[in-house]
Structures are given as C-alpha cells and as structure tokens.
C-alpha cells in the first residue's frame, strides 16, 4: 500500500525512481530493504550525535560504504538536469560539417576513468554519428590505455570505420606543456607518426592538419596536470583554437575562469558526463538501448550526497546544542 502511495500520480515524479525496478539492480524488494536500513542507520547516527556521543570513524566509513554499495545494488537511476555549459559542447559538435576534424585529448588515468571515460565515449559516439573525423591523443602516459578502451567501446557500433580515414590515434608524448606549445604551431614536429609508427602524412584524415587550429574543434578531457588548464594556456590562448572540455569533478571549479571566453563549454564530473549522455540519447534515440555509464553513477551519487549532507546537519545540530548547553551552564 505504501509503495502504491509513493507510486501514485502525486508522489510519482518524486519517489518512483527510488522504487522502480531497474534492469541492472536487484529489484524492488531489495530497494525497500535498503531504504528501510538507510533510514534506520541515519536515524541511529542522528540519535547518537544529538546525545553528544560522536560516532566512531570506522562506523562512518562502514555506513558510507554500505550506503553507496546499497544504492549501486538497487540500480537506482535518477533524472538529470541539463545545463548550458554542457549543451554548448553538444551544440558545437552538432553544428560541425560532415568530414570536419575533431581532436580528442584524453589526459587522465584509471582513477579518473569512472567520471571521464563516459564523456570520452559519448563525445566519440556523437562525433562518429555526425561523420566527423576523430584524432585521439594524450598528454598522460596512462592515456594510451584509456584511448584503447574508448576505441574498443565504440568500435562495435561503427563497424564501417576505417583507421586513418575516419579516426586515428597519435598516442602519447612526454613533456606536458612542451608538447602543447609545439602542436599549437606544428603538429607533426611532435607527432611525426601515429601510435603504430605510421607516418602521419600517409593517413588521409590528417591531410591539411599542420597545427591545432586546423582541427574544427578540440575536446580536452582531463583530470589534472597537464590537462585542460594547460590546453587553454598553450593552445587556445596563443592559437585561438576552438575548445570544449571535460573535467574531473575535483578540478572543474578551478576551470570556470576560462568559461566561456577561452573554452566554450565544460562537462564537470559525472554530472557533466550524464548530461551529455542525456543529450546524446535525445538526439540519437538508438543510444537509449546502451548503458549510460555516467547516468548510472548519478543515482548512487545522489544517495551518497544525501547521506553526507545529513551527517553535516546532525553534527551541526549537535554543535549548536552543545554550545547552547555550555552557554546555559556558564
């Protein structure tokens, strides 16, 4: 009955996602058990905290782990709100002409992959749907493996792709800023060959590309240094190339000073990635059947945020109560 109430037209928009059966989750019974335990656990923390008995560090660890684990197991998927910062990137790619070249730089390692790999996959899929040509590169040694994973993920959906004509991978160069400073004016000086030793001049899609501004659009997806900041400083600023970016959540706030003057859009963390996935699904309905990796993260993400906010609220209530008690006794 309670479930029926929550799923009624009044509450449905708010609560139905919490109890819906998601194909990759353990089902509604588990969801119910999880939410009951979640409320009970949070209640227990509240009770202890306002009584002035702080919960032990490892108990908080355990509760955080169980909260996220439970949310992952329920398979909860929540709606995502689009923002103009992300939409700008989508629209830019959408408005490019067939055959235009896009440079995609994946500057991160596996620790950034849960947030950034979905961006790289979604942007790649979008570019290929638009029949744009993608050149992959990386400023991080670990980026080579990330590029390989992205290509493996998108390749089955585009069996007709020809290496060198539709996409290519120039791989990695050590040197951080020095790499960017050179490719801003002479791409081949740093990358005379692709990742497999094929001379760049022999790849049809690279004809006419001498420097970064020859790409119609650059999308730098990065989680630190060297990354988006360096792309702006050493490529966009001196050469005027058009760039959008995908940043790990940790570094996203630091990049806002460059928006919109130096980069026309930014996907920040898994939220940004999930927005892009949503736009892609709307524009290209066939992607509705595929896993939206970042969107799947946003459900457990929300539950973890709620848990964390409740912890902060409880701790502050306790702090003010203690202050009041102290004031009364003084």
């Amino acid at each position: 009955m309670i479930q029926a109430l929550f799923l009624s037209p009044v509450f449905s928009p708010l609560f139905s996602p919490l109890f819906s059966v998601v194909s990759h989750g353990l089902g509604p019974v588990f969801s119910w058990i999880f939410w009951i335990l979640f409320v009970a656990g949070v209640g227990w923390v509240f009770w202890r905290t306002i009584k002035g008995r702080e919960v032990e560090r490892r108990v908080i660890f355990l509760m955080m782990g169980l909260t996220v684990a439970g949310a992952v197991l329920t398979g909860i998927v929540l709606p995502v709100q689009e923002t103009v910062v992300v939409r700008n990137i989508f629209d830019t790619i959408e408005n490019l002409e067939e055959g235009d070249k896009v440079l995609l730089s994946l500057d991160y390692d596996p620790s950034g992959a849960p947030e950034l790999q979905p961006m790289a996959i979604a942007v790649s899929q979008h570019c290929l749907e638009k029949k744009l040509k993608i050149c992959y590169m990386t400023l991080w040694g670990t980026g080579g493996a990330m590029i390989a994973d992205v290509i493996t993920a998108i390749r089955p959906d585009f069996p007709e792709l020809v290496y060198g004509e539709d996409y290519c991978n120039v791989g990695y160069r050590a040197g951080n800023e020095a790499v960017l400073k050179v490719i801003a004016t002479d791409f081949r000086k740093t990358f005379p060959t692709d990742v497999s030793g094929i001379v760049l001049d022999s790849l049809p899609m690279m004809t006419g590309v001498t420097a970064c501004p020859d790409f119609s659009y650059i999308v730098a997806i990065g989680s630190g240094r060297p990354g988006i900041k360096e792309w702006v400083e050493y490529v966009v600023e001196p050469s005027g190339a058009l760039m959008g970016s995908g940043a790990a959540a940790v570094s996203a706030p630091q990049l806002y000073p460059y928006y919109p003057q130096q980069m026309n859009g930014m996907m920040g963390g898994s939220k940004g990635a999930s927005e892009y996935e949503k736009m892609l699904r709307r524009g290209y309905p066939k992607y509705g059947e595929f896993r939206a990796q970042a969107t799947e993260i946003m459900g457990p993400q929300t539950v973890a945020h709620v848990f964390l906010m409740l912890l902060i609220i409880f701790a502050n209530i306790s702090f003010f109560l203690a202050k009041k008690r102290k004031g009364a006794s003084a």
């Binding site: 908080i60 660890f61 620790s111 670990t142 050179v182 002479d186 912890l311 902060i312 701790a315």
Partner: protein, 229 residues
C-alpha cells in the same frame, strides 16, 4: 664548471623561449628546444624508476624492516618492464613488429595494466570518499561567519549537482527560478566561484611570472645548489 655552465644553460634556454614569444622568426628555435625538453622528460622517468629500484634493491639485500614489501615493488617493476620493453604477447607484433601499439588490446602489457595498475589507482583515490565523509562529520561546523558561508556554498553545490535539488525546489514559480537549487548551484559555480578562482589565478600568475623571471635572469639559483659541489 660545476655551477657556471648550468647557470649559462639556464639563462640561454630561458631567454630563447621568452624572446621567441615576441620574435616570430625564433619560433622554430623554440620548437626545437621544446622537442629536446620532451625527449629529456623521458630520462626523468628513467631516473625515477632507477632511483626506486636502487633504493628497494638496497632494502632487499640489506634485509631492512619490511624488505619483503620492497621485493614486491622490485618484482612488479621488472615484470611490467619486461612486458613493456619487449612488447610480449602483443597481438599487433605479427603485423607491425616493434611499431605495434604498446597498449594494443590483448597485449600482456595492457592486460597487466588493467589487472593491477588500473584497479589500484582507482581504489586509492576512491578511499578519499570515506575520509571526506568522516571529516565532514567531524570538522564541518558553522563556527563563524566564514565557515557558515563555506558550509552553505558546499551544501548548495552538493544538492544542485544531484536530483535532490530538483525535488527540493521544483515547485518554485519561474519568476523566482534563480532560487531553484540547480540554478543557484550553477550560478555559484559559474559566477561567485569564478570570481574567487579568478582572483586566485591572477595571484598565482603574478607569482609564477616573478619566480620565472628570477630563474631566467639567474637570480634564483637554488636548483643549482646542493649535492656534490
């Protein structure tokens, strides 16, 4: 000899790179210097790996405390090095020879990366989620006005980045849509946060420019001191 030559190298290299910004014909020379920099960077990797190996081997041979773990480092190092340097088990070797992509799918190097480095790297950083939860519970208090501003800002961002914000303020009419948490959160990020970040950025830029100038002019020489003089 020990300090004068490095000092000259510093001044010449620095001047070439700075002057090339203002004198376009020097652009090619700057590119050459930066290509040298790229190649030298790799020797820094070799130096790092070599130092790590040296320290850990010393620990193993002298059987110092926790030498067993040093052995784990050494074994991991050599296995990865062998798979990478000789491109063992790389499926592209048959067609491309040693030009094969090091990270080709199915290569043993990439497989070991996926089996060991990828999960370890991701798990190390995900540990921080637990510590952030604990730290928030213990230390995030509205003790004064500064802390309150920080707390409120963090709260709005935490709510705005998820569906919670939409649920909490979705009922608001359009003429006050600024106060919808998802809008407020975006505004905080793109306007108020931007102002603070920009102030920090300008401050850092000034610091970097003055420090770089000291290095290029040869006033700052700490990187040339120390070691065997």
């Amino acid at each position: 000899m020990k300090r004068t030559i490095p000092w000259i190298i510093t001044i010449v290299t620095g001047f070439v790179l700075v002057i090339a910004e203002f004198v376009p014909p020097w652009g090619k020379m700057r590119e050459d210097v930066l290509i040298y920099f790229q190649i030298i960077s790799v020797f820094a990797f070799f130096l790092g790996g070599g130092s790590l190996l040296k320290i850990n081997l010393q620990k193993v041979f002298s059987k110092r405390t926790d030498w067993e773990y040093a052995l784990v480092t050494v074994v991991g190092f050599f296995v990865m090095l062998a798979l990478g340097l000789f491109k063992l088990g790389n499926p592209e070797m048959a067609t491309a020879g040693y030009a094969a992509d090091l990270n080709a799918n199915g290569s043993w190097f990439k497989n070991l990366f996926d089996a060991v480095k990828a999960p370890l790297s991701a798990s190390m950083y995900s540990l921080l989620a637990f510590f952030i939860a604990s730290a928030s519970y213990r230390a995030f208090r509205a003790k004064n006005s500064d802390a309150t501003v920080l707390l409120v800002s963090a709260f709005i961002i935490l709510m705005g980045q998820t569906f919670v914000g939409v649920v909490a303020t979705g009922w608001m009419p359009d003429w006050v849509s600024f106060f919808k948490v998802e809008n407020l959160s975006l505004w905080l990020l793109a306007k108020a946060n931007l102002a603070g970040q920009r102030a920090i950025l300008i401050g850092i830029a000034l610091g970097i420019v003055s420090m770089s100038l000291r290095v290029i002019l040869g006033i700052e020489r700490t990187h040339l001191s120390g070691g065997d003089e």
